[in-house]
Amino acid sequence: MRASLFITCYNDTLFPETGRAVVRLLERLGVELEFHPQQTCCGQMHANTGFRAEAFSQARRFVALYRNAESVVIPSSSCVAMIRDQYPGLFEELGNESLRSEFATLLPRIYELSEFLIDRLGVEDVGAYFPHRVTYHASCHSLRGLHVGDRPMRLLSKVRGLELIPLEIMERCCGFGGTFSIKNADVSSAMLSAKLEDVLSTRAEYCTALDNSCLMHLGGAMHRQFAAMRTIHLAQILSATEGSPPEEVA
């Protein structure tokens, strides 16, 4: 099976280890991956900040790059939600008929990582080994945007050695919200503080999620507070095996 990896702009720049983990994981499962070197961004930041024309040109670029892909795997649920929920509106408003029909045929081939594993590859046990206590934060876009449901939990429950510690109110927003964290930095910080209280009270070693954006937010606060917990993208847990633990960065 072949799949094209859309790594996303911020994973490419800030979290390359997540991308490497996706490659390691999917190649282990027999997927032949390609990486389109022209890729940059899905346009989410611009769309969510009100820069619709700019978001449209990025969205159009995305469709042009991936229209021939067998499948597109994206290790970020908010970027997938952007594509599923916002591209149709952008193309309706600013696009033409050929762009809309190209997108309509591309859309069913776009997968968030946990969707790709379970729905496309039909695998829950990816052969991972991660002997740690882990809590899972259900990011807003994965839960209420993509409706991934219990897919991440099913994947985590099959990881050998992993003890999953339930997070109270796991569906509550961490307060990141993209440029919201800058425009409304104080409110965002208050939301973060409330969320972090719940996360830290699990006494887990790691907090994981499908989105490095939430994890950057939570992890940034953990680091600031010298908290005894770290964040790790789900792909990195799933990529780890007995002989080869996940990359430790920084």
């Binding site: 790594i7 490497r20 990025q58 919200g177 409110v187 503080s193």
Partner: protein, 486 residues
């Protein structure tokens, strides 16, 4: 009371500071945040329990959304039908195109009544059109009779929630307000004593003031009836005891048929207060000789609504039945409470409704007062896609900014334009990654993390660290790996 700690809240969108600025003192008010978090938790858990017992909840939501959408599409004819039925039943219908006109109509009606005092039951529309200051200026004293509104009026505070307006005030604060304003030095702070004090105070008003102003949850076109739901019975006092009743309602409140209440009331009570049915559901049609008010007026207020109706994405805003479930579930509202929104309509619904009622001339910070977490859409009983409307309004605000010279002094605007230029091509993006690594290098501490940044970056580092950019991007790693394999 928040007023003593944060200054008097400003709920006029024309005068209120932008959301991030109004929010700061509220975030520093630990008592208020505790009160808001506790109250919303209680309502939410009651709601969740009662929603869970309805196996047809999603069907009910779909039906309600369909009823409301249909009504809005034919709003003119349903309003005319309501007017005809209400008039035939002895009511008087008045039309107000904006807040000033609504206030003038009501003042004229009160002048005809020669009223120097009125009793009021909670109506959001009254707060929206800023009726109380107008009454006061005309020498008419308005007594709020909803318990929470009474607390706020006596405490010289402002509402912070649509359904539970004094949600930010706790019981011991209520005691302080009552003790001070009613002269009850030894009032204990148990609920029984507090409600008894309020009852004694209010009963005398109910029995002596012959003119009342109230709101409407629904207007029924088919019968010309008005429906009000409430928890205390004070509303029913206002609706039945006076000689003259003036009902104030937004034009979107109409429902086509009486039977539509079946859907709406099930959703409203569960969504608003976590009850199967509101303790008091009052329904009346015109006037009935010898039973209730002799004179009944309905003032239908547009005040910006028909311009919302004209816009296809935003129109759904008018489906709202003011249950406030979106406020209770909102993680932003949970931190700030309602006063930060600078509007009588706070929370997610306020963030979309207020700027639209202001024709996008004020309250432009509100569409950005959301992390777009989507919790509001999930609970909305009439399925308003609030995040979608927020995005639409954000685009409108940015489009306003595009035409202004001041945009060139807004670091966010410039940043977004620069980011767009960078993201338009992979070569530029790679160059920006390289430059970014160099530019951030002076800020990286020995642990490899950034603890402080200048300008907009400082907004991030005020509470979070940022890992320094890795020396190799993913695409560099991928390219290098490809070369090795070859």
């Amino acid at each position: 009371m928040s007023g003593t700690l944060t200054g008097h809240p400003v709920l006029d969108p024309r005068l209120a500071p932008p959301f991030p600025i109004a929010a700061l003192p509220l975030l520093r008010n630990a008592q208020l945040r505790e009160n808001v978090a506790h109250a919303t938790d209680v309502i939410q858990s009651k709601r969740a329990r009662l929603v869970a017992e309805k196996t047809d909840w999603q069907e009910l939501r779909r039906a309600a959304a369909a009823i409301r959408s249909h009504t809005l599409e034919h709003l003119g004819s349903y309003l005319e039908e309501f007017e005809a039925r209400c008039t035939a039943a002895g009511g008087m219908v008045h039309w107000a195109s904006d807040a000033a006109e609504a206030r003038a109509i009501i003042l004229e009606l009160l002048r005809q009544e020669q009223a120097s005092e009125v009793i009021k039951i909670k109506t959001m529309t009254s707060a929206e059109i800023q009726l109380n200051p107008a009454l006061e200026a005309a020498g008419i004293h308005a007594y709020e009779t909803d318990l929470a509104e009474l607390i706020l009026q006596l405490g010289e505070d402002e509402p912070s929630h649509i359904v539970v307006p004094a949600l930010h005030v706790n019981r011991s604060q209520v005691r302080e307000i009552f003790a001070r304003s009613m002269g009850l030095k030894d009032l204990p702070d148990d609920p029984k004593a507090l409600t008894a004090a309020a009852r004694t105070y209010l009963r005398q008003k109910f029995l002596t003031i012959p003119t009342a102003i109230g709101g409407a949850n629904f207007l029924i076109a088919e019968t010309g009836s008005v429906a009000v739901v409430e928890s205390e019975g004070n509303g029913r006092m206002c609706l039945t005891l006076p000689r003259t009743l003036i009902t104030l309602a937004g034009i979107e409140k109409v429902l086509p048929r009486f039977a539509d209440l079946e859907v709406m009331l099930q959703l409203l009570a569960r969504s608003a207060t976590g009850e199967r049915m509101s303790p008091y559901t009052s329904l009346w049609t015109g006037v009935t000789p010898g039973d209730g008010p002799e004179r009944f007026h309905v003032v239908l207020v547009d005040n910006g609504r028909s311009s919302i109706l004209a816009r296809p994405t935003e129109r759904q805003t008018l489906r709202c039945i003011r249950c406030a479930a979106c406020l209770n579930t909102c993680p932003v509202y949970r931190q700030t409470g309602g006063h930060a929104y600078g509007s009588v309509y706070p929370g997610p619904i306020g963030a979309i409704l207020t700027p639209q009622l202001m024709h996008m001339e004020y309250a432009q910070s509100l569409p950005f007062a959301s992390s777009l977490c989507g919790a509001c859409y999930e609970v909305c009983p009439v399925k308003i896609d609030i995040p979608k409307v927020l995005l639409e309004l954000r685009a409108q605000v940015v489009n306003q900014e595009r035409g202004r010279a001041a945009r060139l002094r807004d670091p966010m605007f410039i940043g977004m334009k620069v980011a767009h230029a960078i993201l338009a091509g992979a070569r530029r993006f790679r160059a920006a990654q390289w430059l970014g690594r160099i530019a951030l290098r002076p800020f990286i501490r020995k642990d490899g993390w950034i603890h402080t940044l200048p300008s907009l970056g400082a907004k991030w580092t005020q509470t979070r660290d940022l890992r320094g950019l890795p020396s190799q991007s993913f695409r560099q790693w991928w390219t290098a790996r490809g070369k090795e394999e070859r």
